[in-house]
Amino acid sequence: MKRKIRIAIPSKGRLRQPSIKALQRAGINILEEERVYVSKTSDPRFEAIFVRAFDVPLYVQYGAVDLGITGHDLILEREADVHELLDLGFGKCQLVVAVPENSTIRSVKDISIVAKVATEFPNLSRRYFEGLGKQVEILRVRGTAELAPKLGLAEIIVDVSSTGETLRKNNLKVIATILDSTCRLACNKISFRTFESEIKEFLSRLKQGGLE
């Protein structure tokens, strides 16, 4: 008998609930949602693993899980070599460049060479600024990059924004968009070979369940 197919779900944050719901609509209910890392599901062929959204691409690439739900932005940031089988539609957000409202920087063109950028996305940020020919110093932070300009750690932040609410609250304005992202169903390339029929059937149920 084949082993269970492991699917990683964001363990917290805004992607967790919509991911669980998408699975439900595809007929897979998670049975032990609270405080576990590995959970059985109503479909005996699948088990759910709760992992930080940021780490999902890594788990998928290395085959620690077969499938994983996570943002396209995170897959790109992690440079994960995985299949992206389906755009799940939810988790819409943009990776944006933002500066304090009172900043003299009005567009990315105004960025001087000494500028410091605080971000959770050092890879995408570096590639973006290098693409523009801008030399910036990238400071990797975890969470709450919004704080960095307030305390003078950095003049600029690169962060995800879905409604723009958090940025506004922190008196930050968007000066550029690096990319648009949604949640994706990522798949390990070898798992896809091993479990293609099961995964395809799961995909069609996900599609039938209706995407948000």
Partner: protein, 426 residues
């Protein structure tokens, strides 16, 4: 600094005895298999000129090389793979060797990874190259040898996925898209997201026939399924030849009886740029990374000389093979079954006894510590010695054989001991 004195540079590591045993098990299994198929081993320098290593391999690999300046000012690098050195060797050292030439290597290669993942920067590869022939039979032999090699080291459920570098390239070119969009299309094929693939092709007005070919090839899983692709009146480069070749290779695989282990994957690409024909990857279920792969490179060797010499090869990563074996619950057997420690107050007799064991092909260590019996036994117990043998003044006299695990002591002659050993271990 103490740190640099006690540790190894990032991405490098020590291999301790048990791990080296496992590596040796894999390497020797592969070496034996490669030789059985008529491949001959070569070695090349760890350091080569950058130009020799970077010709035709693509910028990603060039960027990953450890480069430095030689004393005479020339730029040299640690080899990041072995196909370029083989191409150089074929051109410069083996010009009149009858083709096809079958070569193999087992060596370490070095790559600097910019990724946030701390990958090994030194790793071990075992690979083969079949040079001077581009028939489907040559492709088939390489795929068959790949599967046979992985089975030989004990891997189960091995499968190989095959793509075709020029088929993909010619069809991408036929779209008429610019390079950036072609790369995007190639990415989408790799994502295996049909909905987005179709959307992209609609948005970019890919002609219906070509669109159909892309979707059809993406859904093919067996090599012979590509026969259902109809090209219509257009040529799309040499697409017809590429498809024909895949079908011919399939026929060869059938003769080897491995057609059900080899699959088609239109989107499969390798990171190195020199491939022109089939490209492939080997994997096993329950291990998420490919074990290795390779492909056909018919335009590569001529970059070193003037003659066009077609070739095909593969490389396996020893580390990945070991991890996959572990994932399958396979424990490579320890080859040295029994270790004997020989001790005596009479050095001349002890040395003679050790020689006698060595001549009989038994692993024997001489006690060089001059310790008392108690200390010798303690060491034997801790060091995993199977038998301690206390030799009297001559080796003709019976010896005391002590088994540290069971605490059993016996008086026997060396001859009898060896006979019993032969009987019990065979």
């Amino acid at each position: 600094m103490t740190f640099t004195k006690l540790h190894t540079p990032k991405g490098t590591r020590d291999y301790l005895t048990l791990e080296v045993e496992y590596y040796r098990y894999i390497e020797e299994g592969l070496r034996e298999k490669f030789k059985l198929w008529g491949y001959q081993e070569i070695r090349s320098p760890t350091i080569e000129f950058v130009e020799a290593l970077s010709t035709g391999v693509g910028s990603e690999l060039v960027d990953s090389m450890f480069k430095f300046q030689d004393f005479d000012g020339k730029i040299v690098a640690l080899r990041p793979e072995m196909t370029a050195p083989v191409a150089r060797i074929i051109t410069t050292r083996m010009p009149s060797t009858p083709e096809p030439i079958r070569l193999f290597y087992i060596c370490n290669v070095f790559r600097y990874s910019q990724s946030y993942i701390e990958r090994g920067r030194e790793f071990w590869q075992a690979g083969v190259e079949l040079i001077g022939c581009n028939t489907p039979e040559a492709d088939g032999e390489i795929l068959a040898l790949l599967i046979s090699s992985l089975k030989k080291i004990g891997l189960k459920e091995v499968r190989v996925d095959v793509g075709h570098a020029s088929l993909l390239k010619d069809l991408l070119k036929a779209t008429g898209l610019d390079e950036e969009k072609r790369a995007k299309l190639q990415n989408l094929l790799g994502y295996r997201d049909e909905a987005r693939l179709e959307k992209f092709m609609d948005q970019n007005k890919i002609p219906p026939k070509l669109r159909e070919i892309f979707l059809k090839l993406s859904s093919c899983r067996r090599l012979d399924e590509v026969s259902s692709v109809s090209l219509g009146s257009s040529k799309y480069g040499k697409t017809e030849d590429h498809l024909r070749k895949l079908l011919d290779v399939k026929d060869v695989l059938t003769d080897y009886g491995i057609e059900n282990l080899v699959f088609f994957d239109f989107s499969l690409t390798r990171k190195i740029e020199y491939y022109t024909g089939i490209v492939f990857e080997a994997s096993v279920p329950n291990f998420g990374l490919p074990l290795g792969g390779g492909g056909r490179y018919d335009d590569f060797i001529e970059k070193f000389g003037k003659v066009k010499i077609p070739a095909i090869g593969f490389a396996l990563e020893i580390e990945k093979c070991l991890q996959a074996l572990t994932a399958q619950g396979f424990q490579p057997q320890k080859r040295e079954k029994i270790r004997i420690l020989v001790a005596s107050k009479f050095r001349s007799a002890a040395v003679k006894a050790v020689n006698a064991f060595h001549n009989a092909g038994v692993v024997a260590l001489l006690d060089v510590t001059k310790s008392d019996e108690k200390k010798v036994l303690k060491y034997a117990e801790l060091a995993g010695i199977d038998y301690v043998i206390f030799v009297d003044s001559t080796i003709e006299k019976p010896v005391i054989v002590y088994d540290p695990k069971s605490n059993v002591k016996k008086n026997v002659t060396i001859e009898t001991f060896l006979q019993n050993l032969g009987g019990s271990s065979s």
